[in-house]
């Protein structure tokens, strides 16, 4: 896999089918679905529980706004991921082009996915720092690899954005 800046886009070239599949899973992984831990992390409380009024108003007025914001980011990512529908050669490496205008949406969606997965599996600090664990083994190992791979992409996007300013 190779990542580089190309005009007004970031290009991820030579993306093998395994990593391409992990990227395809970004929008789905960003959904808390049936995980209360993920839901609680993505929509965390704005204050201590004693601030009952603030916390309940937050749920009514702010959380729906946040939900829309997150949904919009994952939708942008989903559209970009259409490029990975390589139907002619399903096992060939492919290229993903992320327009610079979409980098904020990618950062947000990757973060949603990382936080939702980490909350669902309750990874420890030690596990999150273990960047060399093989993704082959359990679903948990694969999810940890997913969190780290998405983090690597976030780092790259951030570096490119910084260079751009």
């Amino acid at each position: 896999m190779e990542i580089c800046r190309q005009d007004q886009a970031l290009e991820i070239r030579e993306l093998d089918p395994f990593l391409a599949e992990l990227l395809r899973q970004v929008p789905e992984s960003a959904q808390p679905n049936d995980s209360p831990a993920a839901e609680e992390r993505l929509f965390s409380a704005p204050a201590a529980p004693e601030e009952k009024d603030l916390c309940s108003e937050w749920k009514v007025y702010v959380v729906p706004e946040l939900r829309r914001l997150f949904q919009s980011a994952t939708e942008t990512v989903r559209q970009d991921l259409q490029q990975l529908q390589c139907t002619d050669k399903p096992f060939a490496n492919c290229t993903l082009r992320i327009p610079l205008a979409h980098t904020d949406a990618w950062l947000n969606a990757l973060n949603q996915a990382r936080l939702a997965i980490a909350a669902t599996y309750q990874f420890s600090d030690h596990e999150l720092c273990d960047h060399y664990r093989s993704p082959l083994g359990s679903r948990r190992d694969l999810s940890l690899f997913q969190v780290n791979f998405y983090g690597f992409l976030q780092e790259f996007i951030l570096r490119e954005m910084e260079g751009n300013t």
Binding site: S44, P46, V62, L66, N111, A118
Partner: protein, 122 residues
């Protein structure tokens, strides 16, 4: 509170001529502003609120720094200082001031998926 109904007005009008009916307005209720209570509320509103960001092991340090720069307009050095405070001490006070603005900041920080809360200053 004083309320007039049409019948009261008519009765008042009749009383002017007959001079027999006296309408006694409940003045006491008009002169009961609760100034002290209002001052207390004002104090409460003006009491500064802190915007606090809490540590979480998933968000990247570079990402957190970028968010602080964007949301608060802090220069990189200051944003990094706060990020390291969050990382090392578990939390950092990013901003203090009126409640409405503090809430807005927390909303923005949640939009970037940081763990942020507001707290009344002690």
């Amino acid at each position: 509170m004083v309320t007039f109904s049409m019948s009261q007005l008519l009765r008042k009008h009749e009383a002017k001529f007959a001079a027999t009916l006296v309408i006694d307005f409940p003045r006491a209720t008009l002169e009961a502003p609760t100034i002290e209570k209002e001052e207390a509320t004002k104090q409460e509103i003006e009491m500064p609120w802190n915007v606090i960001v809490h540590n979480d092991p998933v968000n990247l340090m570079s990402y957190v720094t970028m968010v602080f720069q964007r949301v608060f307009g802090y220069p990189r050095e200051r944003a990094e200082k706060h990020m390291l405070e969050v990382h090392n001490n578990g939390r950092s006070i990013l901003w203090s001031g009126v409640r409405e603005r503090a809430e807005l900041y927390v909303q923005q920080l949640h939009g970037y998926l940081l763990l942020a809360t507001i707290e009344k200053t002690v």
